[in-house]
Symmetry: C2
């Protein structure tokens, strides 16, 4: 049995016409001898509409009831897609997460998958059926419905690919694949044929919203090849695979831009051991994730700056003001007018000088760097928001990403 | 524990405002010491919208997938109602049919309940929670979602009342209760305080669409008192209870009108034994329910007329034309221009002359009777459609249903 998992996102099943188009594609695979297991998201903006309904009833909906509510969106898509496949003469059957044994913990609205029982799916595949599974959802051990958080259908797809030992996992979306950068920003952006899980992960967390970060992690952990491709064309998309030697030959795989963060600065913090711990414990206790952190040490007092998601900015300000006495800062300020530009590539590990090249290119073009952070395969700089897109174009050019053979060894 | 089952129909939860209103009422019961178990239908026209979506994909949706699709409507209502109760400070928890063990057979779109496991509900009630259950749905033994047919939420409510041994079952709807006849037709129609299961059943099947017929049957079988009342006012509605002696003192409980049937006539059918069996077997094999039947026997040939639901009329015509040779009729005709007027009352059993009084009243007013059928507690006449409402008014008057003390013994 040539088992393949295919995930269709919300834009790929936004209306009956698109559902029919997805059915056509799935049917083609079935005819070619594949056994498709299809994961679907909710139709277009169903989730937002359901949230709006809930919002007319309460400002603080219970997480359990939210999951009960939102999980219906995916259930609707599965049934409609099954009907569309029937209409084309294929035998298909739809399932909720509960019905195929996607068991999660009880962290409603952001549950983690604990186990997937492949029995029922395998049974139906053996009967020649195309199996359709509602993405984004599962049940806890008490059979209470849970959801997996934004982009959770990607995770459903990868988890099923793992449990069913599928050859690969296709993610159908509204873009052609992963690009060296956003083609709307740099016209010569190129579609990448292959990149590693790590690179994809860094790109995802730096603003390229094609796939949910956790699902990439899981795919990487189990070595499941993921094919990100368009549901509107037949061309090959981008394969996300295990890193290999050849990948390291290229310095930089891509440039990403994130305009969803804000910078907070605490000024005049007493320069005592453990002070940073106090600050970030306060934020953690309020459930606020911090991205970049810099600290300028003075003699007795110091400045601490960090970035958070814009939607958390007010909460972070309030949390810190509430702990003002404990921390002892003299002033606090926020700046939402920033952009984070990142260059990503596994080649960075074996090639020195990427950071220097990046900073030089930005400096030469009079773009001021406000913060810097680095990982093994990524370098991020915070710049003024108005400079964000320009910085992307400069770096895309600097690392010759628009060319078929981008820079391999920089001439010093 | 003063357990009470309360069912809210689609119009009672049509939008967030109405859901809040339902929550207010449920909360009041909770404060008075009741333990409410609430059954909800889908919001207003959700079901029709989902059917429209399916219709854009296929003309003949699979019944299994239809149930998968339609069951989401009730799931949405349960979650929203739970949120509304939380908002008012009550502890509430929602469940799908599957989650509370409503097990049915596998007859998708019209499944029958086989068993209800009350454990989970009782556990949550003991924890002080208000329990909300999605109506209209269940699962078969393989955990595949089934639905119970039009009006199935009534059945869910009655089945839960039985399984939980609730004191009574409240059906909230958009009318004040059951009336002697439709108040839009006869201005002096009175709300009935009590009527028997049998009377309600005959009224339901003769056009009074307040409650699903099967749910009345089940309530009667287990002697569960049902209170039909308005979700828009606090007044008492109508109690449907076991028949008692006092009820028999009243001749007629109510008059109903059904304009949803059509009459078919087969002319010149050979007058041979078994011919009627052939005709109605053909219809049964096509899943068409027949209501009234009359046969006028001639010497060698005979005419057979019967009524079916208007929506089945074309299918019935085609089925019979397909069997024309076997049946051997000389012509076939249909008439959708009819109305069925029925008088219902358990008192009929012990009082002779109801039929005569009914026919006389219609005759005196020059209303022609095309067909007649009788049961122990009901007499129905088919008349021209244009005469339907007039006939209702005449009979409502004849049997003095507008008066507080309707006719008990007719003066001959």
């Amino acid at each position: 049995m040539k088992l393949i998992v295919q995930k269709f996102g919300g834009s790929s099943v936004a209306n009956p016409e698109r559902i029919k188009r997805a059915a056509r594609r799935i049917g083609r695979y079935k005819k070619e001898g594949y056994s498709p297991v299809v994961v679907v998201s909710a139709l277009g903006d169903t989730t937002d509409e359901l949230l709006k309904l809930a919002g007319r009833i309460t400002k603080k909906p219970s997480r359990r009831e939210l999951d009960m509510l939102l999980s219906t969106g995916e259930q609707i898509s599965t049934a409609l897609l099954a009907m569309a496949l029937h209409e084309r003469g294929f035998d298909a059957i739809s399932f909720t997460g509960a019905q195929v044994g996607i068991v999660t913990d009880s962290a409603y609205t952001r549950a983690r998958i604990l186990n997937v029982s492949p029995h029922r799916i395998l049974e139906e595949l053996k009967n020649g059926k195309i199996v359709i599974v509602a993405g984004f959802q599962g049940v806890n051990v008490r059979q209470e419905i849970t959801t997996l958080g934004r982009g959770g259908s990607d995770l459903t797809a990868v988890a099923l690919a793992k449990a069913l030992q599928a050859g690969s996992c296709e993610i159908y979306t509204d873009v052609e694949g992963i690009f060296t950068t956003d083609p709307r920003i740099a016209k010569d952006a190129r579609k990448l044929k292959r990149l590693s899980y790590e690179e994809m992960l860094e790109l995802a967390s730096s603003g390229a919203q094609v796939m949910q970060a956790r699902s990439i992690e899981v795919a990487g952990k189990f070595g499941i090849p993921v094919h990100v491709r368009s549901s509107f064309s037949n061309g090959e998309g981008t394969w996300i695979v295990k890193e290999d030697k050849r990948m390291e030959e290229v310095w930089i795989r891509g440039v990403s831009l994130n305009k969803d963060e804000a910078k907070l600065t605490l000024g005049g913090v007493p320069n005592r051991p453990g002070m940073a711990a106090v600050i970030f414990r306060v934020l953690a206790d309020h459930g606020i994730n911090v991205d970049m952190i810099i600290q300028n040490i003075g003699r007795t007092r110091t400045d601490v700056s960090f970035t958070v998601s814009k939607s958390d900015c007010d909460a972070a300000m309030n949390a810190l003001k509430g702990a003002a006495r404990r921390i002892g800062f003299t002033h606090i300020s926020q700046d939402a007018d920033i952009a984070k530009v990142s260059v990503v590539g596994v080649g960075m590990r074996s090639h020195a000088g990427v950071a220097a090249a990046m900073f030089e290119a930005l400096g030469k073009n009079r773009i001021n760097i406000e913060m810097i952070s680095t990982s093994e395969i990524k370098i991020s700089c915070v710049v003024k928001k108005k400079d964000g897109e320009k910085a992307v174009r400069i770096l895309h050019e600097e690392f010759q990403l628009g060319k078929k053979q981008p820079v391999r060894e920089r001439v010093k």
